[in-house]
Amino acid sequence: MTTVSMTVNGKVVAAVVEDRTLLVDYIREHLRLTGTHVGCDTSQCGACVVHVDGKAVKSCTMLAAQADGAKVTTIEGVANGELHPMQKAFNDNHGLQCGFCTPGMIMSGIDMVNRYKAEGKTLDEAAIRAELEGNICRCTGYHNIVKSISQAAGEM
């Protein structure tokens, strides 16, 4: 067993967990933040993307113990009183249907916009599509997800 302590959505949390506990299971089962989803077993689908110390991470690919001491943001921690521009953009552009992949899409979208801004690069449609390589959606055909991220990139 391992004691883990981290800041999740601005709140300090700690627990004793099995060594093998994945970060996603810690978030979902211990913290009961169920907006972060599990859609595959092989780190392909991206439904579990969260931010760890400001970087997008697939939380199914990281042990909770590896996030000890980290600052973690999940989809529940993105809105600050009002919806984050990325959340609003997904609503504005019909960037979601069943909603299952959406938290991961939003977390990846925020991360890619932040990275491109920091590097002074332009996030055009081709770049968004390439950056979404690690996030699978079965409903939208990606068309409106690309539009959503593009809108948010202009507003963030």
Partner: protein, 784 residues
């Protein structure tokens, strides 16, 4: 009316999904919850000769280790297929027994043998690994050819030669005669590749048993919770209907795969009773590949005959359909009444004959996946048309135009009666948007860069809102295919709509509310859609086959009609005006020609206080309706795809994709376009990327996202989605349905474009770079 029919209203349901507040089955945790894990067969075909549970039972946290003999011993029934098909010779279909836990034989890799219940999910998994099952392996038929070969292994005793049925439709003699006399005959062998639906939310179930009430609750990832309850009680004898509540909360996509009642739900309900614990089971992705019903998997030979001027004279089709190891719930209807009945396509074809051989194999059961039979029909018809045009040296658009059905209603030789459409209108719209006439210049530009450019089209038609109930009953359906709705106007005037449709991404909470807002002029936010709970909603048939628009919303309209009639009576009484002068506008009940009016809330209050109602009127304002359609609806359209193939690698890039659809009346264009986008991506996935692959021993080689190529964002283009609509004449809103069209029309458009680029019609899906490269090489050799 900015929120009514035709408005691109943003979705009401999005807030919970974009903030992580969605409530999917696996997000729910019940009191006293334990976890189930399944021991599954690693063999495609084997006798179960022994099960040793002792090591598993001794593991920490284990509550129960349950097998098939216990399950059947407790009277749990076999899983059934609900649509009876009769063979050519009049014999009934051969349905093999399917126990939720195998008793003596396993028939596919993934077949459930033992269920383990433990305190934690990890303990259940560990204990499942400790169960020792002895198998005696049997010969395997993993593909259609192997299953129908002489001496093939017998998968079910009551299905000789692994044949489930040998069915036919249409006139053989007249079709043969027509083709024999044709000036040109196009012949093709067409395979429709096997797919896995891959809703992003894996299937899950949570079951609860209340011993004091002898009552069961099932939370499940279902597209149709009422049908689940009906089948679980009537056929599987898990619990009587009034003692079983089925809840399908937020469901993360379905595409057909969540229509069916699977072994895991049956076993978890039964195990909850055995253990007196709530039980959760959630599939992992590999389990989903190994157990979710697959789609497609047809092998077809077809001949299409044309007269000297290019008119189709006859179409003859012979199809073998892979059903997998067991008959899933609606499997039998897919290659028959959802496939062969669409073989007339958008064309005037005087003679059609189709025979379908349904066969068992040692693979996952196959059932309806987005489109269900109609993609297979559309792919066949549209590849035949394209190939025929090339063989006859005709323009593929003109050959289609010449053969289009132009007058409605149109009775095809294969049951369907098309009510409406303007096929040329969609063709023209798509060709203009695709700049069809400018293609040769673009092709030359590609050629200058050493690339091969191709353009292809498909003019699909499909059938939605499968109905009417009496008609489908006469064709073998075990259920009626109506829908129900209840409209509750509350005393304060807010409105709840209870619907038997189920939303798992389609946006019903918005579109259904728009229909209500349109009718009464009330704000969209005052309307709540209630669905997915058998304790809340009257019986319903659920969501599949693009039926929630044409059938589900029609039921709401019927209930709204009744509410409107009562509101007008109350209004007339309170305003002391004749009923025929009462109108409902912008949430106000008015008497025309006067300045008398009542607010919507005043009507609600009057109905529930009942202090001053017309004589003999019952209090309250709640009406229900069951709507049984008059006919299928027939969405159709023209899709055009333009590709560029790299001749060095065989890689295909889609440069442009245009869709012009006829969906009848559209409630929310934003949502409808989203449905088309998603459908096209699944169709492009089928055409270029996706295939479930089995080796000869029946092992699935594509059972993870490392192996099965899901379309990613950079595999698909942006889509140009257009509409040229004609109103459906057989339902009150004029809706045709839009959920499946994208997946139905797109595969032939993509393949026709690639075959155009490479100059070889002999190409199968998925058109991977290696296949395209080989087909290109073959066409070069043929040219030399």
């Amino acid at each position: 009316m900015s929120e009514g029919i035709g408005a691109a209203v943003k979705r009401k349901e999005d807030k919970r999904f974009t903030t992580g507040a969605g409530r999917y089955t696996d997000d729910i945790r019940l009191e006293n919850q334990a976890y189930a894990a399944f021991v599954r067969s690693p063999h495609a075909h084997a006798k179960v000769t022994g099960i040793d549970k002792s090591a598993a039972e001794a593991k920490d946290g284990v509550l129960a280790v349950l097998d098939g003999k216990q399950l059947t011993g407790d009277g749990i029934g076999n899983i059934i297929c609900g649509w009876a098909i009769t063979s050519k010779d009049g014999s009934p279909m051969n349905m093999g027994a399917w126990s939720a836990l195998a008793t003596d034989t396993v028939r596919y890799v993934g077949d459930a043998v033992v269920a383990v219940v433990a305190e934690t999910a990890a303990q259940a998994r560990e204990a499942a690994e400790a169960v020792v099952v002895d198998y005696e392996e049997l010969p395997v038929a993993a593909h259609i050819e192997a299953a129908v070969a002489d001496g093939a292994p017998q998968i079910h005793d009551n299905a000789p030669g692994n044949v489930i049925y040998d069915w036919e439709i249409g006139e053989l003699d007249t079709t043969d005669t027509a083709i024999a006399g044709a000036a040109h005959v196009t012949e093709m062998d067409i395979t429709n590749n096997r797919l896995s639906p891959n809703a992003m939310e894996p299937r899950a179930a949570i079951t609860k048993y209340d011993a004091a009430e002898d009552h069961y609750t099932l939370y499940t990832t279902s597209q149709n919770p009422h049908v689940a309850r009906l089948v679980l009680s009537a056929f599987y004898a898990v619990a009587p209907e009034h003692k079983l509540r089925v809840i399908a909360p937020d469901v993360g996509g379905g595409f057909g795969s969540k229509i069916y009642i699977y072994p895991e739900e049956i076993v978890c309900l039964w195990a909850a009773m055995k253990t007196k614990r709530s039980i959760k089971w959630t599939a992992d992705r590999t389990e989903a590949f190994l157990t979710d019903a697959h789609g497609r998997d047809h092998v077809t030979t077809a001949k299409m005959g044309f007269d000297a001027s290019g008119n189709i004279v006859g179409f003859k089709v012979s199809t073998k359909a892979n059903f997998g190891a067991y008959m899933s719930l609606f499997s039998s209807a897919v290659p028959t009444y959802l496939y062969a009945t669409l073989l007339s396509g958008t064309y005037n074809i005087p003679n059609i004959y189709c025979e379908v051989l349904a066969v068992y194999t040692n693979t996952v059961p196959v059932d309806a996946y987005r489109g269900a039979g109609r993609p297979e029909a559309s792919y066949l018809v549209e590849r035949m048309m394209e190939t025929a045009a090339r063989e006859m040296g005709k323009d593929p658009a003109e050959l289609r135009r010449q053969n289009f059905i132009k007058e409605f209603p149109h009775q095809t030789p294969v049951i369907m009666n098309y009510d409406s459409g303007d096929f040329e209108g969609n063709l023209n719209q798509a060709m203009e948007a695709a700049d069809w006439s400018g293609f040769e210049a673009r092709k030359a530009e590609s050629a200058a860069r050493g690339k091969l450019r191709g353009i292809g089209m498909s003019c699909y038609i499909e059938a939605c809102g499968i109905a009417p109930s009496a008609a489908v009953g006469s064709l073998g359906a075990g259920v009626g295919l109506w829908e129900s709705a209840e409209v509750r106007v509350n005393p304060v005037g807010t409105i709840e709509i209870l619907t038997g449709s189920h939303s798992h991404g389609q946006g019903h909470e918005t579109t259904f509310a728009q229909v209500v807002a349109d009718r009464f002029g009330v704000p969209l936010d005052s309307v709540q859609i209630v669905h997915g709970d058998t304790d809340k909603v009257q019986f319903g048939m659920g969501t599949y086959g693009s039926r929630s628009g044409p059938v589900g919303m029609s039921a709401i309209v019927k209930a709204l009609d009744k509410v409107e009639a009562k509101v007008k009576k109350i209004g007339a009484h309170l305003l002391e005006e004749p009923e025929e002068n009462i109108v409902i506008e912008e949430g106000t009940v008015k008497a025309t020609g006067t300045n008398k009016a009542l607010g919507w809330h005043e009507i609600g209050l009057a109905a529930y206080t009942a202090h001053n109602l017309p004589p003999d009127m019952e209090p309250g304002l709640k009406e229900g309706a069951f709507y049984d359609p008059l006919n299928f609806t027939f969405p159709m359209g023209c899709f055009i795809c333009e590709v560029e193939v790299d001749p060095d690698t065989g890689k295909t890039e889609i440069l442009k994709f245009v869709a012009s659809d006829d969906f009848g009346v559209i409630i929310n264009p934003m949502i409808v376009e989203g449905q088309v986008h998603g459908g096209i991506a699944q169709g492009v996935g089928q055409a270029l990327l996706e295939e479930v692959v089995y080796d000869e021993s029946g092992q699935q080689l594509s059972a993870s996202y490392m192996d099965y190529t899901m379309p990613r964002a950079d595999d698909v283009p942006s889509y140009d989605v257009l509409h040229h609509n004609t109103k459906c004449t057989t339902n009150p809103l004029g809706i045709k349905g839009c959920g499946e069209a994208g997946a139905i029309g797109s595969p032939p458009a993509v393949i026709n474009a690639i075959t155009n680029a490479i100059g070889n019609n002999d190409l199968s899906m998925p058109a991977t770079p290696s296949k395209v490269w080989a087909a290109l090489a073959a066409s070069k050799i043929a040219a030399e």
